[in-house]
Symmetry: C3
Subunit: 266 residues, 3 copies
């Protein structure tokens, strides 16, 4: 069973190692994801040119791939970087933002999932879409896009099909490796009124992947830390603007006691 | 006459409908525009690839086109999205950032204005430039770039030529449909020391266009809400950094009474 | 000897002239760099299309070139803009972000440094890399990447080779023109936990280049103002999130007395 003590130990390892986390991410969240990683104790870099992503991922300790503001060259860069990461043993995480919104996006997310990320994080709809994309040619309908049971079953399938730890974030976050499931009941509803917090959570998981070989544990740790930081921030915030600021502060100032006292894992 | 009660009713409709607002916008303001829309109660998406903008605008309730950090593919994406929006009845707003600064920018803004946006928002110089661009081949000089009367006359002409509601923002904001004119005397000078607040105001108008078919009224409502939020924020801020944060908070926490008490429409 | 009074006089000039500062910069910091320039009293524009950078730099009072999130078209745009700046007497500054991380980045930074920027700002590793790039074909090893003496010697060489004022930022900032050296012992360690503050410092130097023809003095002034603002902000901040906000506030509210009392030049 994952405990606050285990998660804290991993966080200490992040701060000690200050892993270089290579992000190919969207333009909306670049600043916040970099700041979340810095507040956490990691060392972020945002590098997306096809001419250098392979060189850069090779000197990094983790790779974060996020398709938020997708365009053709970015897809190419993501594929190059993911392939090199896989070849050189650099762990990587996929954030399939808006995977189901357009055919273009669905195809890109599906193709990246085939490159065997160590972890995948999305909301229920994104994970459902991706689970369908990775099952050869069948259009199994889903009755309800927001039924977390349906999404969780999809997450299990996706984890089994890709070998990734799969996280569904929402009111409660779930992480599965296809067999085990952990639920994290932290966070705060106001977090949904700030753009890109899911993307920042993905980046934070990336930092934990750099220090923990078991992707399932790293994913639980990253989400737990981020959700607890959001919860602390929400208590201090007057609205979504100040929440975003306070969240970065909380990622920097959170104590082991804060984490232990607040963590609600199941 | 537009009243605070009318504006509030529209805002309630935004919060109830949570319209998906498709933004093709500049890289400087993507994060803040998304956050302004979330704080307001809308659902933003930043999508700019030519490969998917047409699909995405078709599932959106409004489109925001902003030429701030222009480049060739973005112009193409804006044109595709605007044309599809027009064809499918999705209202759209144009923000001709820096329209007069370079020939490239002037041409792009002029071409987009021809695609019949439902609303246009800019500062005085931008509206003057655009009014000239939309008048066939004449270079009518303007005596003073900052004389609001001159810009207002240009706004009237632009509204008549394009069919759009046209807003000029500045110390006082003006909205015209070519005949009617409303002045909004809210806001605060410190807002000019924060980048991209005009762009965020445009995005907020986009959300109101999603719930109100009369573009003139939607534009007045969007600007009024944004300017009052800025005014509340300026009272709490210690400088432009905290203003930006407080503005997002105010968009989330503003009450009907705040709006009614502060609104200065004419 | 540069004094707080001299720096303050230059800052007053920035506020009076409100120079248009053209930035071709990375996507991570666009918002913060623009806001830093606005808080300082300058007028920022983020313009990167090859189709318009030459026209735009010609109407600007300074140019900032930053290679953070590099891609091919941006390199081309940087070269076009720098060449035009040089041809029309617009001062410009180069920020060689991550210059040594990949061959692609090393080549781009080296090529830009050849275009004779008026100033260059980087951390120790970046300046060391760039100094090597500008020395014809020799791979002189550096014993320690973080020894500030080594970096300072490289900065001197780089200044001599390019004619630029060269700044190394770190716990203590150094500025040299190849002969003179000034050390600025302001700032705060928490600033390293906020992304892109170095980039914002570069942009602020750009604003001072617009009002002071001697690049060495402008660079010292820009760094001093920025470091003191960071120091004030760190005293008010609860973590890196609030530091970023407070820094913008401090750039707007700092008094001459604040500057004089805190400045530690040597």
């Amino acid at each position: 069973m994952t405990t606050a003590a285990t998660i804290w130990t991993l966080w200490i390892a992040v701060r000690a190692k200050q892993p270089l986390v290579h992000n190919i991410t969207n333009f909306v969240v670049m600043n916040n994801s970099a700041n979340a990683l810095l507040a956490l104790g990691a060392s972020p870099a945002m590098i997306h040119a096809c001419d250098e992503v392979e060189d850069f991922v090779a000197i990094s300790q983790a790779l974060v791939v996020n398709i938020g503001t997708l365009y053709s060259e970015q897809i190419a860069a993501c594929k190059l970087a993911a392939a090199r990461a896989k070849a050189t043993g650099v762990p990587w995480i996929l954030d399939p933002v808006g995977a189901g919104a357009t055919p273009y996006r669905r195809a890109a997310a599906g193709a990246l999932a085939q490159l065997r990320p160590n972890a995948i994080r999305g909301n229920g709809s994104e994970i459902l879409t991706l689970a369908q994309q990775t099952q050869s040619g069948q259009g199994r309908g889903v009755d309800s896009l927001d039924a977390s049971e349906t999404a969780l079953e999809a997450a299990r399938q996706l984890a089994t099909a890709t070998g990734a730890a799969v996280a569904i974030t929402g009111a409660v976050d779930y992480v599965t490796d296809g067999q085990r499931v952990v639920a994290i009941a932290n966070g705060h509803p106001l977090m949904t009124r700030v753009t890109g917090l899911g993307c920042s959570a993905t980046a934070v998981i990336g930092a934990f992947l750099a220090v923990e070989a078991e992707a399932f544990l790293a994913t639980v740790a990253g989400l737990a830390v981020f959700a607890v930081a959001g919860e602390i921030a929400a208590e201090q915030a007057r609205g979504p603007g100040s929440l975003q600021v306070a969240l970065l502060d909380a990622l920097y100032t959170m104590t082991q006691d804060d984490l232990a006292r607040r963590l609600r894992l199941d």
